[in-house]
C-alpha cells in the first residue's frame, strides 16, 4: 500500500491504495464518488471518463500512481447542481435514457468544448467515438453539445 494525496474537485484527498489500482476504483470504492461508472475496465467504452487537468481520461485504465499533482475533476465536481453548460444542455434535450453512461459522456463533452468551443458535427462525432451509449442517445448527445457550445 502506498500513500497518495490527490486533488479531486478542488479538494485534497489523502488515501492509501495499491499503486496499480485504477483511478476509477479509487474514486468509487475508496472515496465513495459513485458518479463515475465502470463499463469495461479497458478504456473501450468511456463510462468512467473524468478530467485530468481538463483532459478527458479513462479512469478505469489509469493507475493512481501516475496521477501525481494533476487535478482530477469528476462529475461531482463539474457542477454539483448541474449548472455547467453541458449539463444544462443535457437536461434541456432530455438526453439520458438509462443514464448510466451519461456522466462519462458529459465529462468527455466538457473536455471537447474546453479545447474546441465550436466543434463541427464531424468533430463532435470523432471526439465522442470513445463513449458508447447502448441505449442509443447519440443524436441527442450531439444536439446537446451543439447547444452547449453556444454558451462557450
Amino acid at each position: 500500500m502506498e500513500k497518495y494525496t490527490l486533488i479531486i474537485n478542488g479538494k485534497k484527498e489523502s488515501l492509501e491504495a495499491q499503486p496499480e489500482m485504477p483511478l476509477l476504483w479509487v474514486l468509487r470504492d475508496i472515496l465513495n464518488l459513485k458518479g463515475t461508472k465502470y463499463g469495461c475496465g479497458q478504456g473501450l467504452c468511456g463510462s468512467c471518463t473524468v478530467l485530468l487537468d481538463d483532459v478527458a481520461i479513462r479512469s478505469c485504465a489509469y493507475p493512481i500512481s501516475e496521477i501525481g499533482d494533476q487535478k482530477i475533476t469528476t462529475i461531482e465536481g463539474l457542477s454539483p447542481e448541474g449548472n455547467h453548460p453541458v449539463q444544462k444542455a443535457w437536461v434541456t434535450h432530455v438526453v439520458p435514457q438509462c443514464g448510466y453512461c451519461q456522466t462519462g459522456q458529459i465529462m468527455n463533452a466538457a473536455a471537447l468544448l474546453k479545447r474546441n468551443s465550436n466543434p463541427s458535427e464531424e468533430e463532435i462525432e470523432s471526439a465522442m467515438a470513445g463513449n458508447i451509449c447502448r441505449c442509443g442517445t447519440y443524436n441527442r448527445i450531439k444536439e446537446a453539445i451543439i447547444t452547449a457550445s453556444k454558451s462557450y
Binding site: 489500482m21 459513485k34 469495461c40 458508447i132 451509449c133 447502448r134 441505449c135
Partner: protein
Amino acid sequence: MMPKFPFLKNKDPKNTSKVFIPSRRDFLKIGSLATGGLLLGVNFQCSGPRGETITFAPNVYLSIGSDNQVTIVAHRSEMGTGIRTSLPMIVADELGADWSKVKIVQAEGDEEKYGDQNTDGSYSVRMFYEPMRRAGATARHMLLAAAAQKWGVEIADCRTENGEVVHSGGKKIKFGDLVEAAKDLDMPDAESVALKEFAAYKLIGRDVPIYDNLDFATGKAVFGADVDLPDMLVAVVKRSPVIGAKVLKYNEQKALAVPGVNRVVKIEGAGIPPGLDKALEGVAVIADNTWAAIKGRDALEIEWDLGPNEAYDSEQQLKEMLASTSVNGQVRRERGNFNAARQQGGQVIERTYLVPFYAHATMEPPAAIAHVHGDGTCEIWAPTQHPQWARQAVAQALGIDYQDVKMNVTLLGGGFGRKSKPDFVVEAALLSRAAKLPVRVQWTRDDDLHHDFYHAQSAQRIRAVLDKNGNLNGWNHHTVFPAIGATANADELHPSDGELGLGCIDFPYEVPHIRIETHESKAHTRIGWLRSVSNIHHSFAINCMLDEVAEAKGQDPVDFLLGMLSEDKDLTFDGELKGDFGNYGEPLEAFPWNTRRLRGVIQKVAQESNWKAAVSSGKKVGFAVHKSFLTYVACVVEVANGDNDQLLIPEVHYAVDCGIGVNTDRIRSQFEGGAQFATSLVLNSAITLKNGKVQQNNFDGYQVIRMPQSPKKIHVHLVESMEKPTGVGEPPVPPYIPALCNAIYKLTGERIYRLPYKA
C-alpha cells in the same frame, strides 16, 4: 418456478392482462403486513398528533400528505424507457397534481402489493395505463368530495388543478388541507369511478421530461453498483467457462495473497440445464474493494471438468441448423397447400438467413448487493427488471421464506432483457451468507459477455412462389433456433408457440398458400430474450425476402406490400395454426391484429419520408414494416457512402401506431435509441463460441455502434390514435433491421443473408 412472461405465453392470456387495483380492504390488509416503505395504511385510518404530517393514501401507488406532498410509487423498473416517469405522470394527471412537485418513490418487489412488476415485453404502459388513471381518479374524487362538503357546494362544480381543488366560483384549497377530511370519506369504486376526458389531460399525450433528468446529468442517480452499505465487501466470480462445467478443484492461496482479498468461496452451479434463475458454477473472490477482488480472481487456480459442451462450436451448429431447414420440419401453420402451389410452376425464390448470438452488453454490467442477516432473512438491492422473480430465486437459493427476502430495486444501467434474469442477484445472496456481511457481486465486462443469456442464433429458409402471373402464391418459412425454454428444460427442442408468435406465425399478408415449419436444435449456452426477441430474426428474414419478391415482380416494395394486405379487417389465423397464438399475452378481442393499422403506418412512413421521390432521385433507401408487441411500425432507412467507403446512415423515418401516446418524448427516444441498437445488430455485433467458450471478451471483440457510424437523423412520426396504448421499448428494433439491409442492397447491389453485415 417459471414466472409468467406474456410474450412467451401460450394459453390463458387473461392472467396477465388483469388490471390490479388494490381495493381499500386489500390495501388495509396489505398495509398491516407491510414492514416498511411508503405504505402508510395506518395513517389512512388515524389522525396524527397535532403538528404531525397526516397522510392520505387511497391506494398503494399514491399518497398525499397534509404538507401537500404528493408521492407516487413507480412499481416498474427503470432501465431507460422512462417508465418511472410515464406511469406516475398518468396518476398525477388524472389526480390534477402539481407535477413539478410530485415525488416518485421506487417500489420494492412485492406482487401482492403492486401487481405485476416484471418490466419486460413492452407492456408496462399497456398493462397499467388504466389502473394508473383509476388510481389517480379515485383520489381526485375523494378530494373533490371533501372540498365540496367543506364548502357546501356541488362536487360537479369543483375540479382539481395543480395540487388544489378549485370551485367554479373561484374558491381554492390545497390538497394537503383536505387530507384529513378525505380520509374519512367512502372510497369510490375504482372500477366505475369517472375518468377525465382525454382532452382534459395536461401531461398524457405530451412531451414530459424524465423525473431523473437532473440526477443523471449530475451523477446522483443510484444504479445497482452504486449502493454502499457499511462493512460491505465486493465479490468477483470466476464462472464456468463452458455451460455445465464443474469445478474439480481450486487453489485459493495466490488469490488470498492479493492485498485486500478477504476470502474465497465456491458457488455450486445448476449444471445442465443451467436454468433461467440459477447461479452458474464458480469460485468467488471476496475482497475489501473491487480492484482487489478482480486481481484476486486473476490469481485463482481452478481445474474444471468442462462437461458435454467442451467441444461445442457455434458456427458448426449454425451450419447444421441451416442444413436442417432444407427438409420438411414440424408444421406450425398451414393455409392452402404450399407444395401444390410450388408444383404449379412459376418462379420459386429460395433464400436462407443467418443471425448470430447477440449479447445484451448493458452499459452497467450485472451487479447486486445482498445482506443476509444473522436471523437468516435477507435484504437485496439490485438493478432487476423482475424484482418478484429475483426475490423468489433468492428465497429458493437460500432456502428461506419468500416473505423473508426484501427486494429493493435500483435504477438499471440498461436492461434489454438481461436483467430479467436473477442469476447475479442469487450470487450476491449466496456470497453474503458465506461472508456473513453485506456483499456486492460485481460482474466485469468479460463476465457479462461470457455469461449472458444470449439472443439465440438462428437459421431460416424462405421459399416464395410467384405464379405464372407473377403474383405471390406460396410462402414457406422454415425457422430454427434454440428455444429460451431449453435453458431450463433440455427437452425443449423446437421454438415455442410463444417464440413463433413473435413475428413469424402471424405473417399477415394475403398469400393463398402458407406453410411455416420449425426444426430441432439444442441449447449449448444460456438463451434468453433480448429487445424484441425472436422478432429480430423473423423480421429480418421476412422483410428482406418480401423486398426481393417485390423486386422480382418489378414492383415498388411499398406498393407491393400495400397490395398484399387484405381489406381492413382483424386477422385471427383461425384454422391455420397448429398451436396457440399468444398475441403478447392479450386476447385478440382486446387487441386485434388489424390490417388497417398496418396499412396506416406503411402509408405514413412512405409519405413522411417522401419515399417515391427518394427512390426516383436515386437515394439508397430501404423499407420494412413489422408489428410487434401490439405496436405497428414501418421504417425507411437511407444509406450512403462516406469517406473511405464508410457506410453512412444519413436518415431514418419511423411511422408508429402505438395507440394513445402517453409520454411522446419517451416514445420518440425509444425509437431513436431502438434504431441505434438495431444498427449494432446489423453492422457490428456477434457472439460466437468455440470449444464451448464465448470468443468475445470486451467491446473490442463484441462491437456495438459508436457515434460516427450511428444514424444521423431519426424522425419519428406518430399516428394519432385513441386506441389503447401499447408498448414502444422493443417495437423499434424489428423493422429497422431489414429496412437497413434493404437500403444497403440498393447501395452495394448485394443482398444480405447473414448478420452481422461487414461492409
